[in-house]
Amino acid sequence: MIPVALILLTSLLFPGIVVKVKALVSGRKGPGLLQPILDIIRLLRKGNVYSNTTSSIFQIGPTIYFATILFCMFFIPFGDTSGLISFHGDLLLFIYLLGLGKFFLILNALDAGSGFEGMGANREALYSMLVEPAFIILFGTFSMMAGYDSFYGIFAHWHLTSGSYFVLSLLAAYILIQIAMIENSRLPVDDPKTHLELTMVHEVIVLDNSGFDLGLMLLANAFKFGIFGALIANFILPEHQLLWIRALIFIGVIFLFAVIVGLMESFRARLKMEKNPQFILTLSSIAAIAFLVALIISNKLL
């Protein structure tokens, strides 16, 4: 229960921290830390508006998306304490649950029947497809190093004792941060702040969703960030420490991640749309390099 509680807690503040960092960096005061989550609460208290052209897919899509993300949260361990659910190969289920959520998000967009949403769905599908190999190669590598194929197994046997583990953790943190940015449709592949349908990826998909459904989707996005933050935190979490110290480190890492996201979004422009696939594929290449390094370290090459 500990990781789920911590992720829930940090997720609620995550969007607020990102917005605050971006505001402070550009010389504004910015809204309060709780503002994004208050907005979500406001949306959750509203009803939905459904267009006549939509079918039941449009109505269940957001709920399924939210459910898959919530489900994913249960897999995340807390150092050497396992998550709520843990079994052999659970990380594959984790990846495909994320995929399932995306799938319904895309169906939801296509169902709305708008010219823009089809365009956004098309882009989102391409990017999630391209980002998958990076994630699988990365966790495949760790699985090989640790000799276990579940999140709990990997993290329980991951010790930052030797230099090589440290380097691999750094690489993992980099790739996971970038994957999280892509999965959450942030810079440089997407711009969550744009109001221009033609340049949107994720934002345009939820253009026709309103009220409760939109609230669920925004909440799911916040949770997603929390989940990826928790994955990164697990690499760094020291063992044999008091529980509350570890909990603080866990929370600290996720908040640091939020600050990094805010900073990354402040000092660069987004990519040209056609460069996005190239950028995402680079992540897979970096993951492949991590895999080679792991092979060499563990003397499995040749």
Partner: protein, 511 residues
């Protein structure tokens, strides 16, 4: 004595009034030939060509500016109102004329044969053929199973002004963009005749394009002062130029901010956004309105630049440069920003010549076209300016040209302020309506260079010196086509950055 030259056209200077009888009336064949031979010269471009009904005749007036000798050739032709109205199109050979002929076609039901693109311009409420409505606009179609169309607008995503953009796409790539305007039509030119008091007309002028209030007002003032033979003193002329350059700085820096919102580069977006505020706030300190409404009045000014104001202006410029310079240096060397600017939405010099681009849209593609330089008005008569020219024709060129023009404008203002010291004349209060008696039966043309480009106002008076026809041309009328051309073979997601890089006026086009 004004005599027509060998082309049969009469030459006047910017903001000069001539008697209507001195504007030669040619046969259409001869008119066609004269316009052709004029437009064949590189330094000539058409600044206005329009028609208006008078005494049972439809009178066409063409004004062709010569950028080298600062003259404007004016000629006309007539046809009976009830004639079967058909003319040979000039656009086929001289495409820059396309928009004028389309406008005449729409307003007066004149059929131009062989016109390559005879489409409605703005669906004016008093157009000749009311059966043509905005919902039946003849969009260019490409039939294919593989292509799809994306329609954007008329409601803008940022709820600014209305316009409809129809993209024909092959996947993410745009094959063709067609821009359909006219949603904002207010009938300004007609209101100009109905609202006869001076203050009403001034307010109307200020709302032709709200972000170019000073530019348009200067053009109107040029017309009124020329028609009423009102001389303004040099100090006022210099101060007017300062106002115009301030408007340029404020709008350009705001556009730079908007372009960076488009690329999601937050730092530059907020720095330029914050710089726009003190710029327009200074205009407010000066004349009480952030967009310079009320600053330009006929024959005088309510708001003379006092020493205190000059002092504030100098301080503002220094503070402005302090943030502007380093931010530009950073922006134009940041790879992620340059990637979104360079080679995006590229147009060629040839294309811009063909559509008759004006102002910065022309200058970013290598065409030297600047009214301040070629047909000096207001303070520009008293000092030399240099016009910056870029040749890339892409988003980068449009961003960088803004940077160069802002820097130049700052220098001009400093230069103008220095000159002000030599002219200590008292600036008179503006003339009231009764003090202005306009020349009867006259034609006057006034060109100014607003921040978007060439603004052209033409007025015609009747026997009693009343304005019976007023023609307004905003630079956007020409330049919208440039945006459509920029999108050719570009990703549809690059449309917003291109649109922001031009920042054309919807209401200026729709009138």
């Amino acid at each position: 004595m004004i005599t027509p030259d060998q082309m049969g056209f009469v030459k006047i200077r910017n903001q000069e009034t001539i008697a209507l009888r001195n504007v030669p009336v040619l046969q259409y064949d001869q008119f066609y030939q004269s316009v052709s031979s004029l437009l064949l010269e590189n330094e000539n471009h058409c600044v206005n060509y329009y028609a208006y009904p008078i005494d049972g005749q439809l009178k066409f007036i063409a004004c062709i500016a010569n950028d080298k000798d600062s003259t404007i050739a004016v000629g006309s032709h007539e046809m009976p109102l009830h004639d079967r109205r058909e003319l040979k199109s000039l656009s086929k050979e001289f495409f820059p004329m396309h928009i004028f002929e389309r406008e005449i076609h729409e307003n007066h039901n004149v059929n131009f044969t062989d016109h390559p693109w005879l489409k409605p311009v703005r669906y004016a409420y008093n157009r000749s053929d009311k059966s043509k409505v905005i919902s039946t606009y003849p969009f260019y179609k490409i039939e294919s199973q593989e292509l799809h169309q994306v329609g954007v607008g008329p409601i803008h995503a940022g709820v600014i002004e209305p316009g409809h953009f129809r993209f024909t796409c092959n996947g993410e790539n745009v094959l063709h963009l067609e821009i359909q305007l006219g949603w904002q039509h207010r009938g300004i030119e007609d209101l100009f005749l109905k609202k006869t008091s001076l203050i009403q007309r001034l307010v109307l002028t200020e709302s032709i394009a709200g972000d170019t209030a000073i530019g348009h007002c200067l053009a109107f003032a040029g017309v009124m002062e020329s028609l009423s033979d009102t001389k303004v003193n040099t100090r006022l002329e210099l101060e007017r130029s300062i106002g115009l350059e301030l408007e340029r700085i404020a709008m350009h820096v705001g556009d730079l901010g908007n372009m960076n919102i488009g690329t999601a580069y937050q730092l530059a977006a907020s720095v330029f956004g914050t710089l726009r505020t003190p710029a327009i706030n200074y205009t407010q300190t000066w004349c009480g309105n952030r967009f310079g409404k009320g600053l330009i009045r006929i024959g005088g000014s309510h708001y003379a630049l006092t020493t205190e104001l000059i002092d504030k202006l100098e301080k503002f410029l220094i503070k402005f440069e302090e943030s502007f310079e380093p931010m530009c240096a950073h922006l134009f060397s940041l790879p992620s920003a340059l990637m979104r600017f360079e080679n995006i939405g590229k147009v060629s010099k040839k294309q811009m010549e063909l559509i008759g681009a004006v102002g910065m849209t022309a200058r970013m593609a290598g065409i030297e076209r600047d009214v301040r330089l070629s047909h000096p008005f207001a303070g520009y008569k008293h000092f030399n300016i240099t016009s910056d020219l870029l040749e890339n024709g892409d988003v980068w060129a449009r961003a960088y040209l803004r940077k160069l023009e802002i820097k130049n404008s700052i220098e001009y203002i400093r230069d103008l302020l220095a000159r002000l010291k030599d002219f200590n004349e008292v600036i008179p209060k503006p003339k009231s309506e009764n003090e202005l008696s306009l020349a009867p039966d006259s034609f006057c043309l006034s060109l100014t260079e607003g921040w978007r480009g060439e603004i052209c106002h033409c007025a015609i008076t009747d026997r009693e010196g009343k304005i019976i026809h007023y023609k307004i041309k905003d630079p956007s009328l020409h330049n919208w086509f440039a945006l459509a051309l920029s999108l050719r073979d570009l990703e549809i997601s690059d449309f917003p950055i291109n649109n922001k890089s031009y920042n054309l006026s919807y209401c200026g086009h729709d009138l």
